[in-house]
């Protein structure tokens, strides 16, 4: 699923500052599961904004609604009439949802309420890790079920770089080398021949190192720094 993190409150507050009446639209699928942009998070953001602006003697009228998926017209179309009453919209969906919503509500400014992080998995509540770069050419069948494009920061396709130390990555010593794991998995499968073949050049997209998101409410549980 898509993993996202809610934007810092100060950033959202600054974006909506020029308006008197805004609508916050949540998304009930991926960003709801990762506790960033679902119905509860819409309510939380609305309350935060009201409280913060109230302390400054400012008034902001806020509408709240959450749809099943903002990346799906079926769920967006019914919003059309509803949104016309508002000066601006904050979408709590991933980048795809924000853009889809803008296609319909093109007369108003739409601000993203979350930063879209990556395609990943739900390890445990509040703890998500990246698994896929959506590169449109899946190698998982020949790489022991581990994506070298995503899990190797260099996206190497033909084996480990020279920086592996004790089976860990030169970029992040906390992470196991993707190619060490790929080798291990292929060996267990009896499929090492896949790794012996030279994988030709790939069309690369933008890359960053594999990411991790821990929801603020769960930082203490996982020992992450505040």
């Amino acid at each position: 699923m898509i993993i996202a993190e809610r934007k810092p409150f100060a950033e959202i507050k600054a974006m909506v500052a020029p308006y008197k009446k805004i609508l916050i639209i949540g998304c009930g699928t991926c960003v709801a599961v990762c506790l960033a942009g679902g119905e509860k998070e819409v309510g939380l953001l609305a309350s935060q904004l009201k409280l913060a602006l109230g302390l400054e003697d400012k008034r902001l009228e806020i509408g709240e609604i959450t749809v099943e998926r903002q990346c799906d017209l079926e769920f967006l179309r019914p919003l059309c009439d509803f949104t016309a009453d508002y000066e601006a919209i904050v979408s709590m969906a991933c980048g795809a949802g924000v853009q889809y919503l803008k296609q319909l509500c093109y007369l108003q400014p739409i601000f993203p309420g979350v930063n879209t992080s990556f395609i990943g998995v739900n390890n445990e509540a509040g703890f998500y890790t990246e698994r896929c770069r959506a590169c449109n050419h899946c190698y998982l069948g020949i790489t022991g079920g581990i994506c070298p494009v995503t899990m190797c920061p260099k996206g190497l396709l033909n084996g480990p770089c020279g920086g592996t130390v004790n089976g860990h990555c030169e970029v992040d010593p906390e992470k196991e080398c993707a190619w060490s794991k790929i080798y291990h998995n292929l060996e267990l499968e009896g499929s090492l021949d896949y790794m012996r073949r030279i994988v030709p050049l790939h069309s690369h997209d933008r890359r960053t190192s594999p990411g991790t998101v821990i929801h603020p409410a769960f930082k203490r549980r996982y020992g992450a720094h505040e």
Binding site: P153, L156, L157, N158, G159, G162, T164, V165, E170, E187
Partner: protein, 294 residues
Amino acid sequence: MSKLRETLETGGFAVVVELQPPKGTAVTEMLAPVSALKDRVAAFAVPDNEHARMRLAPLAAASLVKEAGGEPLVNLSCRDRNRLALESDLLGAAVLGLENLLLVSGDYVTLGDHPQAKPVYDADSVQLLQIVQGLMAGQDSAGLPLNGNPAFFPGAVVIPEADPLAPQLLKCEKKVTAGAQFFVTPPIFDLDKFRAFREQLPLNPVKLLAGIKVLGPEAAAQAAGGQWRRVYSLPPHLVEELAGKEPEEVLALSATAAGRLLKQIKEEKLADGVYLKAQGRTDLLMQVLEAAGL
């Protein structure tokens, strides 16, 4: 045919000395070892933004080495160039008469001095070797014909102390398939580990240049402080010997130790040559070569 290639192919012992391209345009210091050692060594390697730290471009540095009478070994990293840039730089190297290549993936950008830069890695080192093979055969990576084919002597890196070693050996085999003619290792300090690695290396007749390094004070301090995290290990006696010494003393002791290692590698025929790193300093390089009896 390059002197490096000729030395290796005729069974000679090749000494490659690594230079330090400047961070800036002052090249006198970088070139000093060339005039001093050009008759004693096979080639002068010019790293490509080594450790992801921005320095003078390797093609320019190599061209200056050639003008100064030395034979360059151009390092080319996949980190900073996409396939178009790699290929056009390779053609550039060829027309400048730069034949020797060391093709590497490249240390990751976050480890260097431009940590916010975009890492490229459009090709990996195996694919880059294939690109070189293709260019030599008159075709670029898009399958388009060249007007004039380059000639190269391509090499690659192998990590003897990689842990785990098996994936590294497998990649090494792929590099051979992709056209690597010689391999360079990171610095070797533990000859027992190196001997064990040689036995596992299915590389005949591919040539091997063992890395020899004059440890700097920073590395010595890291090792003494228990913060060592590199792809090669240091023997405890060397760490103890260097601990707490003044920087110049560390370098002098390291140079003597490096010379001893070099001599033993040559005498035991553990490698076909060495890739010598000594901070790019002529005095240290001379000291190593003299301690090795070369």
